[in-house]
Amino acid sequence: MPTNEKLVANPDTKSATDELDEKQKERRGSRNLTILGIVSTGIAILTTAVSLIIYHNSGDIYLDRSRPGYLPDKSEVQVQAESSYEFSVTGPLTKEVLDEYIKHFEEELNVIDDLEKPFSEEPLSDKSFGIPEPKAEEPAESPAEEQPYYWWY
């Protein structure tokens, strides 16, 4: 019976095609999954980078850095140590050594003095917030003005 043969033969053919399709689907699926992973990682990196840039440029980073327990990064410490003078604990204490110490100390003092009036009162003044000066109280009328003037007094 040809119909039966076809029926018998067809399932084998179908199963082979299905297997091929399934394999292709699996490949596509895994490829799509990989793409999804890469894209989402990329988006995460991008958004994190953008938020870090905003965090840095807005100055909010200094709010955290101003905390009492803040410790500088290792890289910052190294840069600082390389660029600045450090007085040695050992060695003789000659005039030349003291001269050099004074010179570098004054340079560091200038670094501090570069900030003109740190934490001055001006930024919190009424004027800076547009708050007007309190109105001067009108002087109370003197009793002499309140009372009528009598020429016979």
Binding site: Y85, T90, K95, F105, K117, I131
Partner: protein, 186 residues
């Protein structure tokens, strides 16, 4: 009858003590605002109207102050670790300990700790000021502003104190240098 009178006296005494304790506690809890300024209508109006701008200015100031704190804190730390502490130790190493420098050294450490404390107190007050509703409650906002000003003034004095101590240290070292006069002190 006598028992009742005794009980009444005890109750009166107890309530008097309770009232006194409550009053004392209340004095401690309720802020006394005798020194605070009472605003006139123009000032209240100006605060309410400029509330958004004031908040913006305060946030900008908060960031600037944080930068200043970071800058000064690093500078003070560097002065101590790279100059003042090694100088004291070196003087001890060459058997010439200087009592004045040692005193200034400990004063600077103390002043620096005070600066850190004053900044923390000030920044907390500033944060409180920023979160205060200046549009609907301008009077109390102004009281907080006055408190913040006081804390800022304390902080400013703290920085001035450190600067003065650093100048004192330099003056003593200069004197030491003059006394050394080119001879090897070791």
């Amino acid at each position: 009858m006598v028992y009742n009178i005794c009980m009444l006296r005890k109750a009166t005494l107890l309530s008097a003590i309770t009232a006194t304790v409550a009053f004392v506690l209340l004095l401690g809890v309720v802020p006394v605002s005798a020194d605070s300024t009472i605003l006139d209508n123009d000032q209240i109006g100006a605060i309410s109207q400029n509330c958004a701008t004031i908040k913006q200015s305060l946030r900008a100031l908060q960031r600037t102050d944080a930068r200043t704190r970071s800058y000064l804190g690093s500078a003070y730390e560097r002065m101590l670790s790279d100059f003042i502490t090694p100088m004291d130790l070196r003087l001890i190493n060459v058997n010439q300990p200087n009592a004045t420098l040692t005193t200034i050294h400990s004063d600077i450490i103390e002043a620096r700790q005070q600066f850190v404390h004053d900044y923390t107190v000030y920044s907390q007050k500033l944060e409180e000021l920023i979160t205060h509703d200046c549009q609907n409650d301008p009077q109390n906002f102004y009281h907080t502003l006055e408190d913040t000003r006081a804390k800022r003034a304390t902080l400013e004095k703290s920085t001035e104190n450190i600067r003065r101590l650093l100048a004192d240290h330099l003056a003593v070292v200069k004197k030491l240098e003059q006394n050394t006069g080119g001879a090897n002190a070791n």
